[in-house]
């Protein structure tokens, strides 16, 4: 089961662990980028996959650990771009471009405010089929972005003494004290707030946390599963739906026996001893009583189709109530809106020269080299203008002429650029040309052709981005959906709203207003604001598809 689903996974969430079931057929694009990022500690590395699961092998509860194969892999990453996707559907290839249908769709509403994710808790004894239930729910839900968090990530780091006990297979991994509840609650809380979390990767050989962590995000739906999910009242409070998987003890024992003996090469005696001395008592003491917290009890686990369909129906209703349809709403939200623009919108003075540049790049007959050339000039101007919006302090300097000169100095050195791929990338050069040694982050957002919604695919930001003034770049802003997603990403990385400057060459009136109203502290800089958006979300009169024209990937006519 796990293996089948992992095939759909872009490698990011599987990370580079050697023993993870590696997906075979994912995008070539992701590989290179990810390989590098895993090594560099300087940048946030964010999974591009819609469903993130930390790499976290199961503890063998007790029992010998002779071979690394004895570990059960719980390293699934499920893609649910569309419900019945097969691995080949992860990519759509058109003659012009390759599209990955596994991005992260909006996790906020048209006001840019976060919609609280729906959190499902799944509890049940060891080998009761919690994972199967979780996977079946994800499969039937058809919700594009699901985060699956496992309690296994939160095992405590063992002391040396405890480590020795574990070596003798006498450490009780089924006891509540084995978990780091504080970290668990904190992580789940942040996920529920839609923020970025670093989920520890627990190594069951050394019983410590690895230096690396797995980056996860809150999603439309968060599934939290584990043997003691309902043990802590604070956790229970955060769950919107509580499911208990109730599988008969003999079935669970049978599964354990089969798994441990045939897959892990352990002997019958050992498995039975471990089961009776720890697993079974723990179930009776701690896990079974938790059933009273559950909203739904699923007998027989994953094979119980009726129960799963009921659950899925309920979640669907809940999600619809919370509302996730974005782009169309944005296009219409402020279309009728007139009156003065919010003061945070900074339009470059429309001088003849800027108008002249616009004339070149808007003309459909402008050849590419001229298009690039004049775009670059315009970009340079908008970036210079953007820098003038920073805060400056007075400064007096000595001159070679022997007199002092009272001038200005920018109050911060911490500026970084973040470009929204692909069109935003065209503005990176200009930022580098005006700010020495500036750091550049990247966000890839693509429009899902089926839903018309933006989806987040790839993200790389400087690690301490919250301390920076961020120049967020996109060449054109129509509905503002992509820009809004990028802003949301920055906010989720704890960048202060007032530290963000959104810079673009051309914006549509409604897009400007949507963003300015949603994020009143963000400064928006552009060289022109066009009045309309057409039904394909292009700005009118506009500039066409800026990225296509700049990079020469526009579809041939006829």
């Amino acid at each position: 089961m796990a293996a089948k689903i992992a095939l759909l996974d872009p490698p990011s969430s599987a990370s580079s662990d050697s023993d993870v079931i590696e997906p075979q057929d994912y995008s070539e694009v992701f590989i290179d980028m990810e390989e590098q990022e895993e090594r560099s500690g300087d940048f946030y590395n964010t999974p591009a996959s819609p469903i993130t699961v930390p790499y976290c092998p199961r503890p063998p509860s007790t029992g010998s650990q002779k071979s690394p194969r004895a570990r059960r892999q719980r390293t699934t990453s499920l893609n649910q771009g569309t419900t019945t996707q097969t691995k080949t559907d992860v990519m759509i290839r058109t003659p012009q471009r390759t599209i990955y249908t596994a991005g992260r769709p909006p996790w906020y509403n048209s006001e840019g405010q976060k919609v609280e994710p729906f959190v499902i808790g799944i509890c049940g004894g060891s080998a009761s089929g919690k994972t199967t239930v979780a996977e079946k729910i994800i499969e039937s839900l058809g919700v594009p972005w699901v985060t699956l968090l496992s309690m296994d990530s939160f095992y405590k780091v063992l002391t040396e003494k405890q480590h020795e006990i574990a070596e003798k297979n006498e450490y009780d991994f089924d006891h509540p004290d084995a978990f780091d509840w504080e970290l668990l609650i904190q992580t789940l809380q942040r996920l529920k707030e839609g923020r970025k979390v670093e989920v520890p990767i627990y190594n069951f050989l050394s019983h410590s946390r690895e230096n690396r962590t797995k980056t996860m995000y809150g999603a439309n739906v968060i599934i939290f599963e584990g043997i003691l999910t309902f043990h802590n009242p604070k956790v229970v409070e955060m769950l919107d739906m509580k499911i208990f998987v109730d599988t008969d003890a003999d079935v669970r024992l049978a599964r354990r026996l089969r798994r441990d003996i045939s897959q892990r090469g352990r002997d019958l005696e050992g498995v039975l001893k471990q089961y009776t001395s720890m697993v079974q008592p723990s179930f009776n003491h701690y896990i079974a009583p938790l059933m009273s917290h559950a909203d739904i009890i699923v007998p027989r686990g994953g094979e119980n189709e009726v129960a799963i369909q009921l659950i899925v129906q309920h979640v669907h209703t809940q999600l619809q109530l919370r509302g996730f349809k974005l782009r169309e709403e944005l296009a219409h939200a402020h279309a009728m809106n007139s009156g003065p623009r919010p003061p945070t919108v900074k339009l470059l003075p429309m001088t003849p020269q800027i108008k002249g540049l616009h004339t070149f790049i808007r003309n459909k007959d402008t050849p590419r080299d001229e298009f690039i050339f004049y775009s670059k000039r315009l970009i340079r101007l908008v970036i210079e203008y953007t820098l003038s919006l920073m805060t400056f302090n007075d400064k007096i300097v000595e001159t070679p002429q022997g007199v002092s000169y009272s001038g200005k100095r920018m109050s911060t050195n911490n500026i970084c650029g973040v470009s929204i791929l692909r069109a935003g990338e065209t503005m990176e050069q200009a930022v580098c040309d005006v700010c020495k040694d500036i750091r550049i982050g990247k966000i890839l957002i693509q429009t899902n052709l089926q839903t018309g919604e933006p989806e987040l695919y790839y993200l790389r930001l400087p690690k301490d981005i919250k301390d920076y003034q961020v120049i967020l770049m996109d060449a054109t802003v129509a509905t503002g959906a992509a820009a809004m997603m990028a802003i949301r990403v920055l906010l989720d990385h704890d960048v202060a709203e007032s530290n963000i400057l959104l810079v673009s060459l051309l914006m549509a009136e409604s897009g400007v207003r949507s963003i300015a109203y949603a994020f009143p502290k963000i400064q928006i800089v552009t060289t022109a604001i066009d009045p309309e958006i057409n039904d394909r979300f292009y700005v009118l009169p506009g500039i066409g598809n800026f990225g296509d024209r700049y990079f020469g990937t526009e579809p041939t006519e006829e």
Partner: protein, 224 residues
């Protein structure tokens, strides 16, 4: 503070300069002030100096181009809509005054890829300190063109006067000349605009003290 006194004395002169409509300044903002501060700071390293000088030059050039004549025109955008734009008239050229004016050539090239650039070399006589033109080379039809005359630092205006005279000798009309300049003194502005009542000056700052170390620091050579 020496500078405070200096500023006080020259306030009047600066006021006078502001009344000239043919003197255009870059729109003042803190960021341009920062560039000027860095260029004037004697502790600025050479690599920083060149970097920030190039940025300021680019802005001055862009703004100079903004002064050139244009006509209205309509274009069709890829979405099929019409955009009311404008088009610059052709027939412009640049002329740099050697040596420091050449620092601005790249900035002009970055904005107009194939623009023709002429050169004038003006040197001061070692004894009389009088400026004289040693060398001048222009596009053949310069008399029909608009000329961007590039010279970053102007303290007395003598060199620029000589250069303008040469241009006029070649048939360039006074109102076709725009001087692109980074720093100039009020005195120089007055000298030039009074002697040539139809030409324009575009500068980033008018200040009684000109940063005369510009050429030397930009090219990192000593002048003779």
């Amino acid at each position: 503070m020496g500078s405070t006194n200096m500023d006080m004395n020259c306030t009047k002169e600066l006021e006078v300069c502001k009344e000239y409509k043919r003197l255009k300044l870059l729109p003042a903002n803190d960021q341009i002030k920062e560039l000027q501060t860095i260029l004037r700071d004697k502790n600025t390293t050479r690599s920083d100096f060149k970097f920030y000088a190039d940025r300021l030059i680019r802005l001055v050039i862009e703004e100079s181009l903004n002064q050139l004549p244009f006509t209205e025109c309509n274009v069709i955008t890829p979405t099929g809509a019409t955009y009311k734009g404008l088009k610059y008239k052709s027939g412009n050229c640049g002329v740099s005054i050697v040596r420091s004016g050449e620092a601005m050539e790249q900035g002009l090239r970055d904005c107009c890829r194939s623009i023709r650039i002429g050169k004038i070399l003006v040197e001061s006589d070692a004894d009389t300190h009088e400026a004289k033109v040693v060398y001048a080379r222009f596009p053949e039809d310069i008399s029909r063109r608009n000329v961007l005359l590039m010279y970053p630092i102007m303290s007395t205006g003598n060199t620029v006067s000589k250069a303008i005279n040469v241009l006029k000798e070649h048939g360039v009309k006074e109102d076709s000349i725009i001087l692109s300049n980074l720093f100039c003194t009020p005195q120089a502005v007055q000298t030039i605009l009074q002697s040539y009542p139809r030409m324009k000056i575009l500068a980033s700052e008018v200040h009684p003290v000109a940063p005369n170390h510009f050429g030397q620091k930009y090219f990192a050579t000593t002048s003779f």
